[in-house]
């Protein structure tokens, strides 16, 4: 269950950043990026189906576990190839690699639970359902909102 973003809903409050930071002992894996003064979007691991980081990782520390791109810290050599391979810049390395672990052990990732605006969700369909509902209402009103 990767985390999905409804970009229309992000209010740039950075609550997800602080929550992620808090539950991961001071190291956060999500970053709110501001697009000028007009929008913000949280950036974090997409848990790609074909994850380049897992392909680059020669030690097997990064691997696919169902939908999740999992990380076995014991195998990590800290080489940094995953950081180079990630197309979204959301895996970074100091002594070891750091990335979103979907808050293993929690019922729901902290960023999803804490998001005040419900911009983050584990429901893949949610954002598109909302969009379809908006479009349907607009159509019912003759194309005007």
């Amino acid at each position: 269950m990767p985390v999905y973003v409804d970009v229309d809903r992000c209010i740039g409050c950075r609550s997800c950043e602080v929550a992620c930071h808090r539950v991961h002992g001071g190291i956060g894996h999500i970053h709110v990026h501001f697009v000028g003064d007009f929008a913000s979007v949280p950036i974090f691991c997409h848990h790609c189906e074909e994850a380049s980081c897992t392909i680059a990782c020669f030690s097997g520390a990064l691997y696919k576990d169902g939908e999740r791109t999992a990380f076995d810290v014991k195998k990590c050599t800290g080489c940094g190839l995953c950081s180079l391979a990630c197309p979204y810049g959301v895996v970074w390395t100091d002594k070891i690699a750091h990335k979103c672990d979907l808050c293993e052990g929690r019922a729901e990732p902290a960023c999803v639970a804490t998001c005040p605006a419900n911009a983050l969700t584990t429901d893949y369909e949610l954002a598109s359902r909302r969009e379809r509902a908006r479009a349907a209402r607009a159509a019912a009103k003759g194309g005007r909102r």
Partner: protein, 678 residues
């Protein structure tokens, strides 16, 4: 030892989100989200998530302190209480009880505020106020006059039932982030959102119609909208006839206030004003959410009345999805006001000037010689300290030296006092001016009830002991009162709430046992009463049961941009900070995200000033000057600049001119000039 989850209420804004503190071996080890909380549904903003960072903070005050030369000496509680009694007692003996002034705290519980109020009154002082004066005093004055009650009319989740949400002078996406979840839920159901603000904010991202008005021109915008609604017959004639009085006078007063005229004053186009007016008036259920952008003006009371006029002529009150919603900034600013920590009231909004009030409390408290009000307001206390009319102050959990306008003047006034006792958790600028410091407790270290912006009274439990020899604020106030021989025998917060239940009619049905998750929304007049989420559903608590429509003439702001000071400075908040910043600036994960004071400048203006993003600049007003980093933003219009007030520099610049009725200072409009610092 096992982990215990202690339910508490967030110490930051007025939304009143709940969360659990996980406690293990008497230490806080984490936060767990409260999924069944009616307002937050488990969500927390960045400040809530960082709340525990201030609990065990190394800069906490852990012992009573007395001033010794330029420094401090740690003293025992016995000595501290003795000094407090002597300092306040001397002032009383020398110049009478009216020479002592009290600032209660909108961070403290209802019970603590009630005790401060009671202590002040029993000592004979008419001067008790709290920082509501600096945020929603105009709502108290304005809404009491027009609607007969000053609180938010509808609860926060009810915003989701709204079909048109008009947000004016509130950046709720940054300051009350969880409210945006309910706005978005309304949008999902097809609601239209109008945002009026001098800046493009995170809140304006949610808007379908965005009205970027010039600072201080809210009355012009609202009058222009009222004109359109009346001219086009979009009003609710039946509602007006049945529930209000004064409509004809309003109609007459806005007859000439065409959208074109409003456009000229506000800088918003006439078309947009017409569109917004039509949308608000013609939706089946519209709500207005407002905040400091409406109140912190010399025209604050006018602004509030203009807001309530709009709701009244459209009949958008008393039903689900409607309402007038002043969003309050602190966890218990509503409760502090309910408990009578306001210059003009005793507990329960009984007027301090009314002999009946004095009679009632003389009997309830078995006391003689209770003072008649209204007393001095928070801002007037500072003036009185300067002139010497007030010789001693007891300040609990407030930081006027940072949060009041023209703060250099405030610091001088505090220094001029014969005796200043401050009860707080950190060494704030106000504490630095004190003669005696009493270390209090943060929310997690005490129990009691907090009343959020929706009038929801919620119980917050104690998770930890205060650090060192710090005590809960209830215990400190009781000890001070006992030293005056007053009978303050309150072993716990519940016993104070039991007395509040007897003396505050709105809380007459509220007991500790009834305050489970979600609490109760006042008025709650009896034991079996479920609370009153929606006000005004059957008339108003005013003469004849009718609301008052009060026409409001447009008055420009006191200061306007001029040759020497060519920019209009407006102030506000940032998402990761709170108020004067005494907590958030000490919270590592918050201050690291917004470490310094900045000033937002439009790039065109910046080019003329030869300033690029990040440049150090000096901002100067008639009151003083301050240093800040330039932040270039097209979110502010040319000629307007913005600074957050979480840093000490900002209120050095703002002016002390106040609203003639509510006595709130003009924080939102100051003429300034900017120069690059090289």
């Amino acid at each position: 030892m096992t982990k215990v989850l202690v339910p508490t209420i967030c110490p930051y804004c007025g939304a009143g989100c709940g969360f659990f503190i996980a406690v293990e071996k008497e230490r806080a080890v984490g936060i767990e989200y409260m999924l069944d909380h009616p307002v937050s549904e488990g969500a927390l903003c960045s400040k809530g998530n960082a709340a525990l960072e201030i609990v065990g903070h190394q800069e906490r005050l852990t012992s009573p302190l007395k001033r010794r030369g330029d420094g401090w000496a740690k003293i025992s509680w016995e000595e501290a209480i003795g000094l407090a009694a002597k300092g306040l007692g001397d002032a009383k003996k020398r110049r009478g009880p009216a020479s002592i002034a009290f600032l209660a705290s909108s961070k403290c519980t209802n019970e603590e505020n009630y005790l401060i109020e009671k202590l002040a009154r029993l000592l004979g002082s008419p001067h008790v106020d709290n920082c509501a004066r600096l945020c929603h005093a105009p709502s108290v004055v304005g809404l009491n006059r027009t609607l007969g009650a000053a609180g938010m009319t509808n609860p926060i989740p009810d915003v989701a039932s709204s079909r048109c949400i008009f947000i004016i002078g509130s950046n709720l996406a940054e300051n009350h982030p969880v409210i945006s979840r309910w706005v978005h839920r309304a949008k999902d159901a097809g609601a239209l959102v109008i945002v009026a603000d001098p800046r493009e904010t995170h809140t304006s991202w949610m808007a379908d119609i965005f009205l970027q008005l010039a600072p201080g021109t809210d009355v012009a915008l609202l009058n222009g909208m009222a004109h359109v609604i009346i001219r086009e017959g979009l009003l609710d004639g039946e509602y007006i006839a049945r529930n209000t009085k004064g409509f004809e006078v309003l109609a007459e007063s806005v007859r000439d206030f065409t959208p074109e005229k409003a456009a000229e004053i506000t800088g918003v186009t006439a078309d947009e004003i017409v569109r917004a007016a039509r949308a608000y008036a013609s939706s089946p259920a519209s709500s207005i959410l407002y905040s400091m952008g409406i109140t912190q003006h010399t025209t604050g009371t006018d602004n509030v009345q203009a807001v309530s006029n709009l709701a009244l002529i459209c009949g958008h009150l008393g039903r689900s999805g409607t309402g007038v919603m002043p969003l309050r900034g602190q966890n218990n600013v509503q409760g502090a006001c309910d408990m009578g920590a306001l210059a003009e009231f005793y507990p329960g909004y009984r007027k301090a000037s009314d002999p009946e009030t004095i009679k009632y409390f003389s009997s309830a408290w078995e006391a003689d010689g209770l003072p008649t009000g209204p007393g001095l307001t928070a801002t007037e206390m500072i003036e009185a300290a300067t002139s010497g009319d007030v010789g001693a102050m007891y300040i609990v959990g407030e930081d006027p030296a940072n949060s009041d306008p023209s703060s250099r003047r405030v610091r001088k006034a505090l220094d001029a006092l014969d005796f200043l006792v401050v009860q707080d958790v950190f060494m704030t600028a106000t504490v630095q001016a004190a003669d005696l410091v009493l270390p209090g407790a943060v929310w997690a270290e005490k129990e009691g009830s907090f009343t959020n912006t929706e009038r929801r009274v919620q119980w917050s439990s104690k998770a930890l002991d205060p650090p060192g020899s710090a005590l809960s604020d209830r215990e400190i106030i009781c000890r001070v009162a006992l030293s005056f021989g007053l009978d303050f025998d309150y072993p716990d917060a519940a016993s104070v709430l039991a007395e509040i239940k007897r003396t505050v009619p709105q809380y007459a049905g509220i007991t500790r046992d009834r305050l489970e998750t979600g609490g109760l929304i006042w008025p709650c007049p009896s034991h079996d009463h479920p609370g009153t989420p929606i006000l005004h559903s059957s008339g108003f608590k005013l003469a004849e049961g009718r609301a008052a429509i009060v026409p409001v003439p447009y008055r420009p702001a006191v200061e306007v941009a001029n040759e020497d000071y060519p920019f209009v400075l407006t102030t506000g908040r940032a998402a990761v900070h709170h108020n004067a910043g005494s907590m958030t600036r000490r919270s590592p994960s918050l201050v690291s995200r917004e470490p310094d004071l900045y000033v937002e400048i439009n790039p065109t203006d910046a080019a003329k000033l030869k300033v690029v993003d990040g440049d150090p600049v000096t901002v100067t007003t008639l009151r003083g000057e301050t240093e800040a980093h330039a932040r270039l933003s097209v979110g502010v219009k040319e000629g307007v600049v913005f600074m957050p007030f979480h840093f000490p520099g900002t209120n050095v610049l703002t002016q002390e001119t106040t609203d003639p009725e509510a006595r709130i200072p003009e924080f939102k409009v100051s003429a300034c000039r900017i120069s690059r610092r090289d």
